[in-house]
Symmetry: C2
Subunit: 415 residues, 2 copies
């Protein structure tokens, strides 16, 4: 019996989430005896509730193939979770209506820990109500904080972007430090986990490098930081500081430490300018940068391993569904460090839903300002290989989809 | 009669200034009957005064070749100008001593308008004192504000980086705007000229795009900006704002408009957070980024045209010197737009020294928030082609020089 597929993207997008979409869509086509049409919800679960479903059968396969190298979220993503069946029964009733109206037999939800919670809720509801719905999670997050998977597609590319950019900028700083800037501060994403800051450690080899990493896992102590910075500048002439946006001091986000003793007065937000004030007050000419969305959309510098894993996770989700598996998330298993070998596996959605893992203690150098060799061994395989998108007329060319809704069959629904 | 060459880098470095160095060094080797050793001063004119000269004859030619794809300034750069012969006669006497001590017959100075003033001063002094010294300027600046040259090596690569990054991030924003961020603000370099902000215009085709450019050339008017932003968000659902750091309001840098009516209270510096406050107060969820040094060191995304021009300018400087030309800067002449064709020429140092050209009015759209087709025709050729550095183990590999001083022959000199 052939039913349709519904795929949706959720949470902050990445440089490779569309590669997972590509894996889902292209693989589904290989199982015509199992799957009918592939729909994509606009803006994740929101589009399901609103019955805004793109019919991907009208898309040019060449454009679908281009999703593999297109950053962003081609169908729109959302920062929204559904309620519980107890408090929001109308949402679940609506989901069932939409699934039935469009003969959805398989639901793929592509996201991080929060999105896996949404998928788990849908799966639980389906089981409790005897609904014949396959639910498979496809992992995605630049934060690398998903449990039970070697890494999350999205992280490797950001790690490569940050390590490359830091290596490049370090040459700029080395050239200018004699008469100008001595400290360069980069703020990277990471509210609760310092993985992206940690990735900067790959830019240099060895421990004795002109780099200080400020991870979200380590309480920020200004005096200890300035002492370490002083040592680095004395030794190398300059220093790069890479800080996770979620850096904490005195038990709260440094960026919220308004009117604090440390930073003096109210700020507009942004950790990098706060740290820059600190280092300037300490006498160092300082430049600072905030990568923000660039780090997660820089598809021009993606890791080939990351792209391959993202695509493979999408493809494996379809294979799992074809084999009758449900209520699981695709997970990456590392079978060898050197060479980096991995396979795909399935873990129950409940085991990964809403869990955020920090950088483990054994990956953080004793002084708290760097990474260990173990961290390097773990991360280095994830940034291997280049996978440039095609360029035309000097700029990368990305997929352009028609994004045509399948006709709605239900009355509108207010979310 | 064979004399030695002294090459030096000055001002803010770029992703391709070392390609010019490579052009100088490799070309000088082809004229053994004209030139002896090639020395490079550490940190520009400062290293000349200090007699800190690297002897490049000890370097591995393979590493010299790698300079072509190495960002930063391999010999160190400086933010320093020399005085005039009247007020600082000791500096000029010292320069002559150093040139004579190391048998320097040719001095190549690689920099922007300010650096060309330094070169011009040295040239004028040499002429006035009958010193047999050839002085050639090699153009370099990301700001694209040098006169009498089609462009400045360094600009094309930053323009490509900004246009690519904006195109990528626009897909992120398009995916998230439904439930999250609607405005993304990028602060780019450009104290006095808005060329880098203008380059963002290449990210999209046509006029009707979700992009507002804030160039240094156009006085910033908050209400007019917010009205334009409102229109963009209403039409597209989101908008990217790219602002030159030198944006002016009420006759001063916006970033210095402390306690102003516009921005409320004192800030730490940084235009992007100021603009983000404005757009958030107007009700838009906003993200912001500051590229800072990344934009000028992102060699992984350089324009091939830019790299070729940088190398060719270095090579041409040597050819000009070999032909007996002096007191000139190498300039790029555009001979055709499509296909982009260019040749190299020489302009007198006095014609380019200390001149900073803004973006011409005909390149700025009537509403002040975008670029014209003429600007597009001018800039698009400059970002053509990719020229990736080699990657090893996931990261770009750059030149590693020995940087060995030639023995000093003079007493120390305090600068």
């Amino acid at each position: 019996m052939v039913h349709n597929i519904l795929y949706a993207q959720s949470g902050g997008v990445t440089a490779v989430i569309n590669a997972s979409a590509c894996g889902v869509i292209e693989t589904a086509r290989r199982f015509p005896q199992k799957f009918g049409k592939v729909f994509a919800a606009q803006e994740g679960i929101l589009g399901v509730l609103r019955e805004q479903l793109y019919d991907l059968s009208v898309e040019d396969p060449a454009q679908i193939a281009m999703l593999r190298h297109t950053p962003g979220g081609a169908f729109g993503s959302c920062r929204m979770d559904i309620g519980s069946p107890d408090t929001h029964p109308e949402q679940y009733a609506r989901l069932v209506d939409v699934f039935k109206a469009h003969d959805i037999g398989t639901f793929f939800y592509n996201g991080g820990g929060g999105s896996m919670l949404t998928a788990a809720k849908v799966a639980r509801f389906a089981r409790a109500h005897g609904l014949d719905l396959t639910v498979i999670g496809v992992p995605k997050t630049i934060d690398n904080d998903l449990s039970l998977t070697d890494t999350s597609p999205g992280f490797g590319s950001v790690a490569k972007y940050i390590a490359t950019s830091v290596r490049e900028v370090s040459l700029d700083l080395a050239a200018m430090c004699g008469t100008s800037t001595k400290v360069f501060i980069l703020e990277v994403m990471g509210r609760h986990a310092g993985w992206l800051a940690a990735a900067a450690g790959l830019a240099f080899e060895g421990d004795d490098t002109p780099l200080l990493i400020l991870m979200a896992e380590i309480e920020f102590e200004p005096q200890r930081f300035l002492a370490a910075l002083h040592d680095k500048v004395a030794q190398h002439g300059w220093c790069v500081v890479v800080a996770a946006e979620g850096l904490m001091c005195n038990g709260q986000f440094c960026t919220l430490a308004a009117e604090s003793e440390i930073f003096g007065h109210e700020q507009l937000g942004g950790l990098a300018p706060l740290l820059a004030k600190l280092t300037r007050d300490a006498g160092y000419k300082t430049h600072w940068a905030v990568s923000d969305y660039f780090q997660r959309s820089a598809r021009h510098l993606s890791s080939r391993v990351d792209v391959e894993q993202a695509y493979a996770c999408g493809a494996a989700a379809v294979s799992l569904a074809a084999k009758g598996k449900t209520d699981v998330m695709v997970a990456i298993r590392r079978t060898s460090d050197v060479p980096y070998l991995w396979t795909l596996d399935a873990v129950h959605l409940d085991q990964v839903a809403d869990i955020e893992l920090p950088v483990p203690a054994e990956y953080i150098r004793a002084d708290g300002f760097g990474i260990t060799q173990a961290a390097r061994h773990y991360m280095l395989p994830l940034i291997q290989g280049e996978d440039s998108p095609p360029f035309r007329d000097g700029l990368p060319v990305f997929a352009k989809l028609k994004l045509q809704y399948t006709p709605a069959k239900l009355p509108p629904f207010e979310v």
